[in-house]
């Protein structure tokens, strides 16, 4: 892990106010729903599971153009003019974005529980170690997919591709509802599982369950994405002479 690149990645977030506004929006929206529910006399709160799923959105916002933006801004040739290994740059970016997204997701969960329960024992009970680990897993998984897409595409086009695939999945689901094609029921779910890799830690009760397809898919996607992005960045020419 390269400390300078990690710090640079964190600073990049603060230097882009649009991202901060979007983050605030995604933290604030579930709270707004909860406030409205309260005012309408409902006792329901947005579930913690829903709050955790928001982690993917935080990764999309924080990690948009994780490599592509550095290329478009001309930062990468500067970085690689120093003796920094490309795989170190990629792993550092991966960890830094996943770390930031996890921190925002933790805060989001905390604020959500605080709103739901106030400063009571329920608040402490609500913060399950599993939930925290689940957030980190999801953040690391989604960041790795973004890394691969970002090493292929310029600027923040990685987010565009992800949103496009999500929209396609939505259309497939709707079409599937009207024109039912046998065997295609879970297509959208499988695509989502690859775009936002994660697995339910609560499902692991024995060693045998470590051989579940969800866990295998998570590690396969994450490792292939990380290695693929190193391979792709290694193939690119970033010296000033290349222009």
């Amino acid at each position: 892990m390269n400390k300078s690149i990690a710090l640079m990645t964190i600073k990049q977030l603060w230097n882009r106010p649009v991202r901060l506004v979007l983050l605030a929006g995604f933290v604030g929206f579930p709270l707004l729903i909860d406030v409205m529910n309260r005012q309408m006399g409902f006792k329901d709160h947005t579930s913690s599971a829903m709050v955790i799923i928001n982690t993917s959105m935080f990764v999309l916002i924080i990690g948009a153009g994780i490599i592509g933006q550095d290329i478009s801004d001309g930062i990468l040739p500067l970085i690689f003019s120093r003796p920094i290994k490309r795989w170190q740059y990629i792993l550092t970016k991966w960890l830094a974005v996943a770390f930031m997204a996890s921190i925002v997701a933790f805060l989001n969960l905390f604020i959500h529980l605080l709103f739901a329960h106030g400063f009571t024992f329920e608040l402490v009970k609500g913060i399950m170690p599993f939930d925290l680990a689940q957030i980190v897993l999801l953040a690391m998984g989604t960041t790795s997919v973004m890394l691969l897409l970002s090493s292929l595409l310029p600027g923040a086009a990685d987010v565009g591709v992800i949103l496009l695939v999500c929209a396609a999945c939505f259309v497939i689901t709707i079409l599937q509802h009207f024109f039912h094609v046998p065997g295609m029921e879970d297509t959208a779910m499988n695509v989502f599982a690859i775009l936002f890799p994660s697995f339910d830690l609560g499902d692991i009760h024995s060693l045998r369950q470590l051989l579940s397809i969800e866990i295998g898919r998570y590690f396969a996607v994450v490792l292939v994405c990380l290695s693929g992005s190193v391979l792709l960045v290694n193939e690119k020419e970033f010296s000033y002479g290349s222009n």
Binding site: F42, D44, F80, P83, I84, K85, R86, W87, Q176, H177, F178, H180, E185, H205, S206, R208, L211, S212, I213, I215, G216, R217, F219, A220, V221, V222, L223, V224, L226, S227, G228, V230, L231, N234
Partner: protein, 291 residues
């Protein structure tokens, strides 16, 4: 292609090159293991340690299911393969009971552990396999001695669930035929609650509906109707029934559809939702309709 030197900025550690292959290999192993497990039908029940069972039972408010068996016992192996290896039944057992395996070791070791002996005496076990379902703090128990076939055991499990759940039994709801309900529709001002259910799917009705409040809400506020999936299997006699089901156009099961009595817009809950989600769905509809 120019070979990359070790100190080059493009050099990649060997581990980074091997790991993706390992990841894909692991995924392949997972697929192989899953297909092997489903082919072998090995025990899929998540057995709980005998010493912790009572505590877990109290905490989760679930009855304990003891499986008294022995390694040498043939019917015990058949029970394991046929029942505990069945995905649906195993899931049902895992969800609704605290399953505990009590294995007799007299033939192998000459004696049993004290707690195994005590349990065998307490429930007067004289043959294997024997299934005993009990609730902590209650003397009433349900027992199945021996293993006849899968269907009998399935019925035993279903009956035991009904006994242990009391008001939360989804089979307590009198799901009616759509034709019958449409004929008598002028008598009721309650909304219809149509359950689209496919018995062939591995999803359990207990996961979907076994909640005391949910069963109560259905009984008190709705006219419950069950439509079998595939729809063709229902053989509706009335054109209104066919029209209604066609209009709802539910393509996935399980599904719950609320059809308001005043001809308002139907409300849908489609897919493998849990009983908590279904309860929320019905309660939200009732709150809104009252407003």
């Amino acid at each position: 292609m120019v070979p990359i030197k070790l100190n080059s900025t493009r050099a990649t550690p060997l581990l980074m090159r091997i790991l993706p292959a390992l990841g894909i290999g692991y995924l392949a192993a997972c697929f192989a293991a899953q297909s092997y497990l489903s082919a072998q039908k090995i025990d899929l029940v998540e057995w709980v340690d005998l010493k912790k069972a009572a505590e877990i039972s109290k905490k989760l408010d679930k009855p304990i299911m003891y499986d008294f068996s022995a390694q040498w016992c043939g019917p015990c192996q058949a029970l394991k393969q046929e029942v505990f290896g069945d995905k649906t039944l195993a899931k049902q057992i895992n969800q609704m009971f605290v399953p505990v395996q009590v294995i007799d070791r007299v033939r192998e070791d000459g004696a049993n552990l004290l707690e195994v002996d005590n349990l065998q005496k307490k429930y007067k076990i004289d043959s294997f396999p024997t299934l005993v379902v009990m609730k902590v703090g209650q003397s009433d128990i349900r027992t199945q001695t021996g293993f006849k076939d899968k269907e009998t055991t399935k019925e035993f499990i279903r009956g035991t669930l009904a006994w242990s759940m009391k008001g939360a039994n989804p089979y307590d709801v009198d799901w009616k035929n759509l034709d019958d309900v449409i004929v008598s529709s002028h008598k009721s001002e309650r909304p219809l609650l149509i359950l689209f259910w496919d018995e062939r799917k591995e999803y359990s009705r207990y996961e979907y509906l076994a909640n005391k409040d949910l069963v109560k809400v259905i009984k008190e506020n709705f006219v419950p109707v069950e439509v079998t999936v595939p729809i063709k299997a229902n053989d509706f006699k009335l054109a209104e029934s066919k029209d209604l089901v066609d209009k709802l156009a539910v393509k996935r099961s399980p599904a719950l559809v609320i059809v308001p009595p005043d001809g308002g817009v139907p409300h849908f809950q489609i897919g493998n939702s849990t009983y908590d989600d279904n309860k929320d769905f019905l309660q939200k509809y009732l709150r809104f309709s009252r407003k």
